[in-house]
């Protein structure tokens, strides 16, 4: 019972985190020096605090 509760909680949070990561473009790419001023659609900017 305790085992399944702890496993469910941690695994649920991992799946949620993975899902949230899927929606974050800055997972794979942050703006580099060559496109600092690039505002074309599809280009991503660093999130607040990054």
């Amino acid at each position: 019972m305790i085992n399944n509760l702890a496993l469910g909680l941690s695994h649920g949070l991992m799946i949620l985190a993975a899902f949230l990561l899927l929606r974050r473009p800055d997972l794979d790419r942050e703006p580099g020096p060559h496109d600092a001023a690039d505002t074309r659609p599809g280009r991503t900017r660093t999130p607040p605090g990054a």
């Binding site: 305790i2 941690s10 993975a18 997972l27 790419r29 990054a50």
Partner: protein
């Protein structure tokens, strides 16, 4: 039922990984820490999921990742050198079959540690790596915490952490040291996390998890865990502004906790003072002495599990008023210390490489901690993260004095995160300089120099 849940979880994870290959790296990390194949009875334990995940993670990186700004840190080279050296000692080992058994998992931990920083190209990836390390470890820590409260302390070696064979993170002393080592990183998430924004829910969860981490040494009654908590308390002083009230609070909390500690724990902790009447502590001292002598005749190490060849004898003082002592003999006793594990198994060369990997990590994190200490700068998150990784690493190095965890994969992931953070920040510094040259120098804030 649990088997099906694990399979569904892994399939969902892998499916997401095909969209974002970095998730495959996280999937391997999860499998390595939690070992779901050991928690199930059917299906999963017949498939080499760890190997599949590793192949997918590396394949995903080779085929789909942008490798333009890839950097290799000096410590990655040292890790590969250590791996090659371990291979040499394995083929010349005192106990070839037993050495091969350990080599089988050590090389995977080392190669993954060398590979991991290559994938950590963005801040979010570093954060995601640490989040998955914590969540994976939490599946063991939460169970340990709840069972400790429910049973009033499990006692040494008796806290049931789901897996009976006492290996990996499921071993009592190891999970004690690791649980305390990750506390600073959990606290970092309470201020700087971006995957789960640090609102009241995240903060409550983090505090509860820290509490569960602190309960692990109580539940497993490990003396090493208590020492690690002490070191963590000392190191945390530098992170708080009002030090005197903080010290008073720590003292009050410590004293208030004593009546709630189970007697199995306090009895075991009292044996720290009477180590000369405790055969567990004396065995360690005798094995360490044996290892120093062994290294003189085998300066290049005896290969993995070389301790199997030891024969030790030591005097155990009688407990109580009786002044007499008895001689105890033993053989094939494990090192119970990562430092002596390295010295005995890999000799002076292996020990030097291992120490270099660890000490460079501590020094580099200190440099980053000081360089990015400005709370209003662009990289305000980086200094506290470097401090958290450094504190965790120091806690591990203390725990490693009494536990043979020189090759614990979890710690190599922590080292991988350190290298990733270091190379990421170096790259960002280079980019800031590049922009400064191209545009007006005042337009881009420089990170504070060390």
């Amino acid at each position: 039922m649990r088997d099906l849940a694990f399979i569904a979880f892994l399939l969902a994870f892998f499916a997401m990984g095909f969209k974002r290959p970095f998730l495959l790296v996280l999937a391997y990390l999860y499998i390595d820490i939690v070992s779901p194949q050991r928690l199930t009875y059917l299906l999963l334990n017949t498939v080499p999921i760890s190997l599949i995940a590793f192949a997918l993670a590396v394949g995903g990186w080779i085929l789909k990742e942008d490798k333009r700004d890839t950097r290799v840190g000096a410590r990655q080279v040292l890790i590969v050198l250590l791996m090659l050296y371990c291979w040499l000692t394995t083929i010349n080992a005192d106990f070839p079959a037993e050495a091969l058994e350990k080599w089988d998992w050590v090389w995977k931990a080392l190669i993954f540690a060398a590979f991991l920083p290559l994938t950590l190209r963005t801040r979010l990836r570093i954060e995601a790596l640490l989040l998955f390390m914590i969540l994976s470890a939490s599946s063991i820590i939460i169970i340990g915490g709840i069972k400790t409260i429910a049973s009033g302390g499990g006692g040494y070696g008796t806290l049931n952490l789901m897996v009976d064979n006492n290996s990996g993170l499921y071993e009592g002393s190891t999970i004690s040291a690791v649980a305390i080592a990750i506390i600073p990183v959990i606290i970092w998430f309470m201020s700087y996390g971006t995957i789960f924004k640090p609102d009241w829910r995240v903060k409550t969860y983090c505090i509860a998890l820290v509490f569960a981490c602190l309960l692990i040494p109580v539940g497993t009654s490990t003396r090493t865990g208590l020492l690690c908590i002490g070191l963590l308390a000392v190191l945390s002083i530098r992170a708080v502004k009002r030090k005197i009230p903080y010290l008073i609070m720590l003292g009050v909390l410590g004293l208030a906790a004593v009546p709630f500690l189970p007697s199995t724990f306090t009895n075991r902790m009292n044996t720290i003072k009477t180590y000369d009447a405790d055969s567990s502590a004396l065995t360690r001292l005798a094995v360490w002495q044996w290892t120093i002598g062994y290294a003189e005749t085998h300066p290049f190490g005896g290969g993995f599990n070389a301790y199997l060849g030891n024969h030790i004898r030591f005097d155990v003082k009688s407990a109580g008023d009786d002044p007499g002592s008895r001689v105890s003999v033993d053989q094939g006793r494990a090192y119970h210390s990562a430092y002596f594990e390295m010295l005995g198994e890999q000799g002076y060369v292996g020990l030097a490489l291992w120490l270099a990997i660890n000490v460079i990590g501590i020094v580099r994190m200190e440099i980053l901690r000081r360089r990015y200490c400005d709370p209003d700068g662009d990289f305000a998150w980086a200094g506290p993260l470097a401090a958290a990784l450094q504190t965790g690493h120091l806690v591990y190095l203390l725990g490693a004095t009494f536990i043979a965890i020189a090759f614990q994969p979890f710690i190599y992931m922590l080292i991988g995160a350190q290298i990733g953070l270091d190379t990421y920040l170096t790259r960002k510094r280079g980019e800031v300089s590049f922009r400064s040259m191209r545009r007006t120098p005042s337009a881009v804030p420089h990170p504070a120099s060390a």
